[in-house]
Amino acid sequence: MTTLFTSDHEWLQIEGDVATIGITDYAQSQLGDVVFVELPKVGRTLKKAEAAAVVESVKAASDVYAPISGEVVEVNQAITEEPALVNSDAAGKAWFFKIRMTDKSELGGLMDEAAYKAHTA
């Protein structure tokens, strides 16, 4: 299983044609306490870089962009019910949604963990 990162601080775990997407621990620490999450509908077709989800802290709302094109096949209702999960386990239980990818060549522009660490250093 491969984990990749975007410069917008999302992570993707790739298993076959499906990418599981969340925000990084760095992103949650910058956002502060998450109080609301809005997820895309299952079945929605997303284009790469399209606003796909919303994560809100006490102070502000931030978009989560689709890091890759495809169809939303599953969303994580646990984080809409308990938004604080995004702060406590951003890289694990607090995944946002899963996309069935339509163009895996789009993965080419993403970073591996070492490159992402350098990006946020």
Partner: protein
């Protein structure tokens, strides 16, 4: 496009070094480099203030001494009444009052606090407006008053249910003060001006302290186990839950005190039929609205769902209406309520508590109900 303020270096309050040493995240606010939050974050800072005590640096606000050339505070009070719709002549020595500077159209130039200090009036204004306020005071009151900005003073707010017990250790007179009592007091031996007030909805104090001793006092207060430093992020969520206006957002030069639902702050003596009715800038329009009502009202709003509805969201009378009838002027998440809260303007016909309206958020219409403010009951020691 850059505004004028973006081209100037950010100013620092006397507590700037303290904020940085405490690990604050600093942001530009009203021309100052200010702490938006400390390591615990907005949510914990907010809840700590409601449950214990929070210390806020509000030194960016303007502090002005208004002294009559005659030497009589009554003359300074009479002069100031030309610029605010409040009863200042009737403000007793040692008391504080909330007021607004109005313009000739009845709009609000700024909101402020006025203290009768015995021989002068001590005025606290918003940071973003302080230069304009000072110029406004000079333009209208220079004949009769001396206007002295107190640039060498910091302002520290201590807010929350433990504020009284904490401040009592540094100022023996603090517990005897009631809500809106104010005046010169010794705090830690320093010559301060203390008021029992604030902008969080909690009991608490604001302490004007000589700038050179501000860090010493702040560190002494922070050394108390009950006190945490609180940033501007939580200051905003606290005042929003308390239903208090933020100048430039909930009130501005286009909103009158009646439209802003601030009639409570205008004493009877200056309303229609009062002994000193009118006599301030914009009185014609404001007094007319006291009689006939205003076309729109500032209201509290409770979103029915979990999604925060933020400043700028258009408000609609029903789910399908095409034309907005109002706008949200402040909105976010209320940590004490554990729910989203907002305020905004609606036509008076839609301003009754319980009325359902809709806000447009990311292309969707979300239901809200008009609600009484404060959203969180205040705990002032009256």
């Amino acid at each position: 496009m850059l505004g004028r303020d973006d081209l100037l270096p950010l100013k620092k309050t006397p507590l700037h070094g303290l904020h940085v040493s405490l690990g604050a995240r600093m942001v530009p606010f009203a021309g100052y480099d200010m702490p938006v939050q400390y390591p615990p974050g907005v949510l914990r800072e907010h809840l700590h203030t409601r449950g214990s005590a929070g210390l806020f640096d509000v030194s960016h606000m303007g502090q002005i001494a208004l002294t009559a050339k005659s030497g009589r505070v009554e003359d300074a009070a009479a002069a100031l009444e030309a610029l605010v719709p409040q009863d200042i002549r009737g403000l007793p020595r040692g008391r504080q009052r909330y007021a607004q500077f109005t313009n000739a159209d009845g709009g609000i130039l700024d909101d402020l606090m006025v203290v009768n200090c015995g021989w002068y009036l001590f005025v606290v204004v918003n940071a973003a407006c302080k230069d304009a306020d000072e110029a406004h005071l000079r333009a209208h009151l220079s004949d009769t008053c001396v206007i002295e900005p107190l640039a060498d003073r910091a302002l520290i707010a201590l807010q929350g249910p433990k504020a009284e017990a904490v401040l009592a250790k540094f100022c023996a007179e603090a517990p005897a003060m009631r809500f809106m009592d104010a005046g010169p007091r010794k705090v830690m031996g320093l010559d301060c001006i203390v008021s029992r007030s604030g902008y969080t909805g909690e009991d608490g104090f604001e302490i004007s302290v000589p700038a050179g001793h501000a860090e010493e006092l702040a560190r002494a207060l922070l050394a108390e186990a009950d006190v945490l430093p609180i940033g501007l992020g939580a200051r905003d969520s606290l005042r929003l839950e308390a239903g208090l206006c933020l100048y430039g957002h909930d009130i501005d030069a286009t909103t009158t005190p009646v439209e802003a639902a601030l009639e409570w702050s205008v004493q009877k003596v200056r309303r229609p039929g009062g002994a000193r009715a009118g006599g301030f800038l914009g009185a014609e329009r404001i007094l007319a609205q006291f009689g006939a009502g205003a076309p729109r009202r500032r209201v509290g709003l409770r979103p029915e769902g979990r999604a925060p509805v933020r400043e700028g969201a258009n408000l609609f009378a029903d789910e399908a209406a095409s034309e907005p009838v109002g706008k949200v002027t402040s909105g976010g998440f209320g940590p004490t309520l554990n729910a989203p809260v907002a305020m905004g303007y609606l036509p008076s016909a839609l301003a009754a508590a319980g009325t359902q309206v809709f806000a447009e958020v990311r292309g969707q219409r979300l239901a809200l109900r008009v609600a009484a403010t404060p959203f969180v009951k205040n705990t002032y020691k009256r």
